[in-house]
Point group: C2
Chain length 200, copies 2
């Protein structure tokens, strides 16, 4: 590390290297960029982090991070409250919003069920989801969970919990991604795409 | 971006994406990690940046960032003050320190001469270097500058400015890097390594 630069910079590099996408080497480069661009980058980022820590909370309805509670999406009367899209994390919610494919409400689980990592239903916002559906007015719960073992375990668990709730539970379609070359696709995706083939 | 998450998070993502190594996509992931790990990451990083902005200055002798002035390295009596290693940025200084190959002092230029980018001698800490050498006690100036056009232009400029200063001006050796496979090396390196060949 930067044993020559004093403990403050070492500490900064250590914290930066905990961000996803930054390793020890790129964390040093990032720290250097911050030191070089004090006015344009270091001070604004310090202020932005402090403001985020101060103002951003989890929405008490859907669990998404926002400065408002209920969040911007839950408070938007133009969005269909009869549709709830269940996502693992806010990152998936943002991706869905960028796509513009969904105009309902969300529910952020805060993780996935995982026997390996010891994540049980009580660690996730599953009770809140069941309670939301129980309040009525919901027609459909769309599961937008990853196509992994944990994602599918969680999807099945939710489908069971909501089996008698009088809502339809659906999942995002699986298939060949747009621009996806079959050469590069895994077998699992090809098998699912073949099974779910449709008239063109 | 995260149009659904409020302006504070969008601003944070925008600032994070300016860090080297983070693009718009990984900046979103980083922001998400910060929001998820408020106590372990968001608050400590905010505090660390504020502390860095508050305490870290450039050393008035060598230009390296440190909380002390003169910096830890310039203040260390165990380091040879007769040797000055000239580097572009603190990143190169840290790399040199990690290698343990150098026990002298440093001089951080803060950039390289570049006709294209309009960087002239007055934008760099070149006058300070000449003044340091002029004060006497320096035997050798080692140029540890990149093997690029700008790096070599800067090296030649420094060698000229110090031509009559009574110090020897040297450069890091060029050659095959340790573990370097000739197949993957550029021609320029191979040519330099061949010219500088030595008895084994």
């Amino acid at each position: 590390m930067a044993a020559s630069a004093g403990p403050e910079i070492e500490r900064l590099i250590g914290l930066l290297s905990k961000l996803p996408g930054l390793g020890p080497r790129s964390a040093r480069r990032a720290a250097l960029a911050l030191l070089k661009r004090r006015e344009q980058l270091l001070l604004p980022l310090a202020a932005s982090l402090a403001e985020t820590a101060d103002k951003v909370k989890s929405c008490s309805i859907c669990g998404a991070p926002d400065t408002r509670d209920p969040c911007t999406l839950c408070a938007d009367p133009a969005r269909d409250a009869g549709l709830i899209c269940v996502v693992e994390e806010a990152g998936a919610l943002w991706a869905m919003e960028r796509s513009g494919a969904f105009r309902g409400r969300y529910h952020v689980l805060g993780g996935l069920l995982s026997a390996l990592d010891g994540v049980g239903p009580e660690s996730l916002r599953l009770g809140e989801l069941v309670a939301r559906v129980g309040e009525g007015g919901v027609r459909e719960v769309v599961l937008a969970l990853p196509a992994t073992v944990d994602g599918q375990t969680t999807a099945h668990y939710i489908a069971e919990r909501l089996a008698n709730a009088g809502v339809s539970v659906t999942s995002l379609a699986r298939g060949v991604p747009v621009g996806g070359d079959l050469d590069w696709l895994d077998d699992g995706t090809i098998i699912q795409a073949m099974r779910a083939r449709r008239p063109t």
